[in-house]
Structure formats: C-alpha cells, structure tokens
C-alpha cells in the first residue's frame, strides 16, 4: 500500500502496524519508517536485496543476524550514512513520516538530526562533557539563551541516565569517562537535538556486562519518547530489549515480527535455526 501519486488529492489514511506488547491487547502504532523494496550496492556487489519493512513508532526494533548479513548496512541506509562511502548505490524507497529520504531535495543534514545515530565504539568529541552535548544545540541554533542551553544539556544528560555522575564535573574532558559513561554521553548528545528516531549500531558490544545492562535499561525507558532501531549481534540482547525483531541473512530480510514470537515460535526455519544456535 503506497501513498497516492501527486495528482491524487485524497490523503491516504496513516499506515499503522498492529503490535502486541506484553499485554494481551493489540495496540496500533503509527509507522515511523516505511522501507519499500530497498536494494543496496557496494559498487557491483548487491549487499541488500529487496528489503521491505514497516518500523513502528515509539518502540524498539532490533535487527539480528550473523556477521556480514547486512544489518548494519541497512541501518545506515535509514539516515543515509552510507552516502559517505564511495561507490554505493540505493534502489527503492525509505519513507520517514511519508517522505522518501532518498528523494530529490532531501536535506541530509536535517535528516541526520531527526534520525540520530549511536555507534559501537563511543565517539565523544575531544571536548568537555558539557560541550559534547551543547555543540549540536549551538550549531543548530536550538537554544534561545545561555540558560536555555544549560537547561537542555541537563535534560539530555538526565534522559541518558548519566546526569548524577557528571553534574559536578561538566567541564571535565569527555575522555575521562569510562566506556559505558562515554556511550551514555553519546546517547545524550544524540538526544539533545530532539530526534524522532535513534539508530544504534551495536551500542553495548564494547561494554562490560554491568554497563551493558544499564544501556539496555536506558533503551527500554527511552522508547516511550523515541523510535529506536538497534543492531545487535547478541540475540539475547535483542530478546531482552526489543519489541520487534527483524532477522537478516545474506542481505535478505528473512522474517520480522513481535520479539516474543520470533524467539518462541518463528515462522521461518532459517530464523529458528539461528535463534536456537543450530547455524554451523
């Protein structure tokens, strides 16, 4: 079901995805990202084949699959981070709130603000803790005054569950923080510019178990306000943290659906082989 052509005046009804969270009632969530027939090429090599998926808003969707299956590549197509790699080509559409992000005239910078990203290796700026969060606010003109700026920095650090640990040393270097703290700082930085969607590429794989658990709990809390898409090679993490799971294999999307169904009763044998660890 695709939106009507420009000559049709009627507005199609908003797309929804029926989602079953832990409670028995089905809940309709509006679609945040609608991917239609996406193919992605590194030069001549096709890395993603005909991917179509609707990602619901204000939920956590996890991408799982073995190494090299294309899940990180796919994640990066959602905010056009692959553009910076030479020789890449996209076919198909990625609609975010109805607009094709690969359409002509797309403001890619604005896109990457709306669709923020957190990376596997945390990458704070070589600045103070405060400046890491303030920088995005400043260059986007998102703070009306110094007081407003301070307030928004605090709000972002609180949202990332790190405020209490850094409030007395905001002007220390970000590099003085531990790995887990740096990652939460990077999350705060992404949240500061008020994205709609946050993409996370293996956000906890460089962290110890306790720091990982904190990140996972943070993700669980953040979904009340943001749409979150997380790539993880740790399927137990996907099971713990996500509402919906998509399984990728050799560049194809094999199956996607509610997380509890994917892990208790997947429809595809390939999916079952993967989650039960039968893959050789």
């Amino acid at each position: 079901m695709s939106p009507g052509s420009p000559s049709v005046q009627t507005t199609p009804p908003p797309l929804t995805v029926t989602v079953r969270p832990q409670s028995p009632q089905a809940v309709d969530h509006p679609v945040s990202i609608d991917v239609q027939g996406l193919n992605f090429f590194y030069g001549a090599k096709r890395a993603l084949e005909n991917i179509s998926i609707r990602i619901p808003a204000k939920l956590v969707t996890a991408f799982i699959g073995p190494s090299g299956c294309g899940k990180s590549t796919f994640l990066r197509t959602l905010n056009r981070m692959n553009d910076i790699i030479a020789g890449t080509r996209v076919e198909g559409r990625v609609l975010i709130d109805g607009d094709d992000v690969y359409g002509p005239g797309t403001d890619v910078v604005a896109l990457r603000r709306r669709v923020g990203m957190v990376f596997q290796k945390s990458n704070p700026f070589p600045k103070s803790i405060f400046e890491n969060v303030a920088y995005g606010l400043r260059i986007n003109g998102l703070a009306a005054s110094r007081a407003d700026l301070n307030g928004r920095v605090e709000e972002s650090l609180r949202q990332a569950a790190i405020w209490d640990e850094v409030k007395d040393r905001l002007h220390d270097s970000a590099n003085a923080l531990s790995g887990g703290q740096q990652q939460r700082l990077c999350i705060a930085r992404a949240l500061a510019v008020k994205p709609d969607i946050v993409l996370m590429d293996e956000p906890a794989s460089a962290l110890d178990p306790i720091a990982t658990q904190r990140i996972e709990e943070l993700i669980y809390q953040l979904k009340t306000q943001y749409t979150i898409v997380i790539v993880t090679h740790n399927m137990q993490q996907a099971a713990r943290v996500s509402d919906r799971t998509a399984f990728f294999w050799l560049g194809r999307l094999i199956e996607h659906g509610p997380t509890d169904r994917i892990f208790t009763n997947p429809a595809e044998k390939l999916t079952e082989d993967y989650v039960t660890g039968r893959f050789g």
Partner: protein, 226 residues
Amino acid sequence: MPDRIVPHFQEELEQLKTRLLEMGGLAEDRVRAAVKGLVQRDAPGIDRVLAGDGPINQLHIEIDSRCFKLLALHQPMAVDLRSIVAAVKINTDLERVGDLAINIAEAARRYMRHPPVKELIDLPRMAEIAQRMLRNALDAFVRRDIELAHGVLNEDDTLDALKTQVFRELLTYMLQDPHTIEPSLDLILISRHLERIGDHATNVAEDVIFMVSAKDVRHHAGEVGA
C-alpha cells in the same frame, strides 16, 4: 528521570508472583465454597462453584504464558531461573486444586440428593487443614520461608490419617444400612479430593524449598527440617 533504573525484568517477575498469589487465593476460595456448600446443603452455593472456574482457568493460561516469555526473553539465572520454573509447576498444582474444588462440588450435589448420612465433622476438618497447607505453601513462596514450607510437608500425614478415619467410619454406616452406600461413597470421594489438595500443597512447598535452597526434597530425597 532518576539515574537508577529498576530492571524491567524484576518488575515482570514481581507481576508473575502477584498473579500466582491471585490464583492461589482463587483456588483456596473455591475449595472453601465447595465444602461450605456441602456442609450447609446449599444447592445454589454449589452451583456457583460449578459455574465459576473461568477466572482460574484464564490465570492458568496467562501465568504459563508469562513464564514462557520470561524464560525466552530474559535468560534468567540462579534464583530467578528456579523461581520461574517453580512458578510453572505451582501454576499446574493450583489449577488442579481448582479442578478438585469442582470435583468436590459435583460430589456434594450428588450427596444432597439423599438424606444426610451423619453430621459432617471430619470432612470440614480435612478441608481446613488442606486450605491451611495451601495458604502456608503460598506464603512460603512469597516470603521465601523454608521453615514454613517444611511445616506444610509435615502436615500431610495428618490429612492422610483423617482420610483413613473417614473411610473407616463411613464403612460402618454402609455395612449397617445399604441406603447410605451411595451418599457415603460421595463423602469418601470428597475426602480423597481433599487429601489430593493437601498433596498439591505439599508439591508447592517442595518447589518453594527448591527455589530457595536449590535442594530437591521430593520423594523424601532431602533431609526434612534441615
């Protein structure tokens, strides 16, 4: 938002326990209502018991589903794993207690078609013991109280002795007057149902002991009172 976030797994574990207690309460109430209906020869009361097992059956399905999801999605370890496996088993025992309440009600309805055989003393006493055992087993589950659980195991013998006593007494009535045979058989059946309820309470207590101490005391394998 506070920096300290409670893991949502722990919250869900608490919800599971709450549901289990709810089910235990329902099971206990239904046994009590069935026995009360028998003693007071209250036909509408018995009918209500027979018609009302919807909620307990629903909980049975819901609790299994919750346990299943917790196991699949959270990979629990140690005491959390033992708690969830215990919850699955306790769920089964509680559902059986609910069924036994119905069996008691059915036997009571048949019994009421005849004049009373005797004043009912031992059956209500058995019912009280069985309900107490169940209540204590569930309290032990909530409070992780091994001593309370062992106490439940010890009461099982009292219930068995009463069941034998009921049988022997009714046997004398049946030998004296063949008209009392049919209703007496229903009373004997009820005594067996009540004794089975005690067995299920014992199962729950054994599961609690395993959950808390990782000791399997079933079939007298562990040291009682240790």
